[in-house]
Amino acid sequence: MSAIPVTPLEDDDRPTPISSAPIPAAARPELALWVENLSVTFDGFKALTEVTLTLEKGELRCLIGPNGAGKTTLMDCITGKTRPDSGAVYLESRMNDLTKLSECRIAELGIGRKFQRPTVFQGHTVYENCELALAGKKGVFRTLFARLSAAERTRIDEILELIGLQDHAKRQAGLLAHGQKQWLEIGMLLAQAPSVLLIDEPIAGMTHAETERTAELLRSLAGAHTVVVVEHDMEFVRSIARRVTVLHQGKVLAEGPMAQIQKDPRVVEVYLGV
């Protein structure tokens, strides 16, 4: 996983068709995750319609679109929270159709997620939150006798330092400020050490300086991890995005490098122009 080279930014300037037409084998990059013809309806309302999306290993993808476009719903489908009406989601190989697996099994396979509304374990300390998120076997009896190893302690300390909460380790997570909770949730995601990270609106409630640190962190994660970020803040998206996918009314409207997306008249009309 760590051996994947970081793709240089310039490489991303070529336009890619959205269609699922087969890519010639020689040029086919290694895929981390792909979504095939995913459709979801809620009581007749089409939240997602035939969404197809491929993610290369190590890329950082931004997912944008107006409110209600289906961005969160797409993440719900990938992580097993919502069962789609049709379509499939594959992780690394065709063996794993995620739409058939439980949330915890998907997490175990290496997909981590940050919720739109920051979700941490309110009653636990910051340190315990990281402990619970740590990668490893998570069966009932193993957990009953689990003790933190020295390596795990070091890992948690590193993460706490990275997210700037080292002085709050013993603080109850429910008492943190909104922005700190966002950071903690990102920290938990790091502790979980997934190969694919789905991050829904990470910078809501963050200060300008924190936003910049988040951008830096996300950029550094790409390469070793595959990262998908949903965000409304266009400046932030511009600062991190290599490729951008635009969702609109449950469909993929456009996909390509940020520069190209910004000029796309359809995107400007439904989203950026507002």
Binding site: C104, E108, T119, Q122, L132, K138, V140, T143, L144, Q192
Partner: protein
């Protein structure tokens, strides 16, 4: 230290100084303490408000009761090998599920395993269908109600509404002998402390932290890779078995087990003990069980009809004014006092 002192006081000093007639009553309180710990585990820590734990308590009691009946086979009123109530029903044969209960170890294992299996199966269906909150409370209440109706039937083979009674001996010792009663009391005290230590171990383990995390944000634990259903099932089943242990110790001390022990209101009372003492504190739950039952013993003697009203009023008062129970109140007062005494003189 404190715990050790309390253990010594309760297990050794009290049976030495308490008058004989009080020993079974106090022993009963110890059993309620165990049940309160079980209830706190499942409600306080896992957020599962079971209103059916009285059933597991009663089932443990029935297991013990079946042993106590079988061990005196042939000594009943009818001098039959069958328990008296079966003779009375004109049964010629012991039902299959009564076999083996003449053995104390078998009966004890069954007293814990049978309620445990019931809890496991019922819990599996309940948690897998994601039943939670009020619905879960109602479903568990319905379960214990259904069981009451079942045990009331003579045909069920558990003595109908009279239940099992007229016990004589446990492990060869007469149940009417004050010495036996003291031993039962001490056994209950040991069981209470064992249960306390077990619960403490569980809630301070990582599993305990996962369980409270499931209580607070179940979906998040699932995205962290924990199969929340299994965690709930583990705590639920463990709690049911501890409750059954309490019931098994309770029956020889009160001398009877009948279906009224599993009627819905008993389960609700257990929840009130924990609410009064303080959820998620273990010690508080035991304290709550003792205070509420102390009040009950006193009030049912002084003003028998008032108990249910008092219980209802207590529940409302605790919900409104003491959301964290007595332990919560205690720590609030304590921290206020401390901050006052720390304040520099002006």
């Amino acid at each position: 230290m404190l715990l050790g002192g309390a253990a010594l006081l309760i297990a050794v000093v009290i049976p030495l100084v308490a008058p004989d007639y009080l020993v079974p009553l106090l022993g009963k309180f110890l059993c309620f303490g165990i049940a309160a710990l079980a209830m706190d585990l499942v409600w306080g820590y896992a957020g599962i408000l079971s209103l059916g734990h009285g059933l597991f308590f009663a089932l443990g009691g029935y297991g013990m009761g079946m042993y106590l009946m079988r061990v005196i086979a042939g000594e009943g009123v009818y001098r039959s090998n069958l328990p008296d109530f079966m003779v009375f029903l004109d049964w010629k044969q012991l039902p299959w599920y009564w076999h083996g209960f003449q053995s104390f170890p078998f009966a004890m294992v069954m007293s814990l395993v049978a309620p445990g299996v019931l809890a496991l199966v019922f819990g599996w269906f309940m948690f897998r269908s994601r039943i939670r909150g009020v619905y879960l409370s109602i479903v568990t209440q319905a379960l214990t109600y259904a069981a009451t109706l079942f045990f009331f039937q003579n045909a069920a083979g558990f003595g109908g509404n009279n239940g099992l009674t007229d016990f004589k001996r446990i492990l060869g010792a007469s149940l009417h002998d004050p010495g036996t009663r003291k031993l039962l009391y001490v056994a209950s005290a040991i069981a209470l402390f064992g249960t306390y230590l077990l619960c403490r171990f569980v809630v301070t383990s990582r599993l305990g932290r996962v369980v409270t995390a499931v209580r607070d944000a179940e979906l998040k634990t699932r995205f962290c890779g924990y199969e929340s259903t299994n965690y709930k099932l583990f705590i639920w089943t463990l709690s049911a078995m501890l409750c059954a242990l309490a019931g098994a110790l309770y029956v020889p001390q009160v001398g009877i087990i009948n279906p009224s022990e599993m009627q819905p209101s008993n389960s609700i009372e257990m929840a009130i003990w924990v609410a009064v003492g303080g959820r998620g504190t273990l010690g508080g739950a035991v304290l709550g069980a003792w205070l509420v039952n102390g009040g009950k013993s006193w009030l049912t003697a002084a003003l028998p009809s008032a108990w249910l009203y008092a219980l209802g009023a207590l529940f409302v008062a605790v919900t409104l004014f003491l959301p964290d129970g007595l332990v919560g109140l205690g720590s609030k007062v304590g921290s206020k006092f401390r901050s006052k005494s720390l304040r520099p003189p002006t």
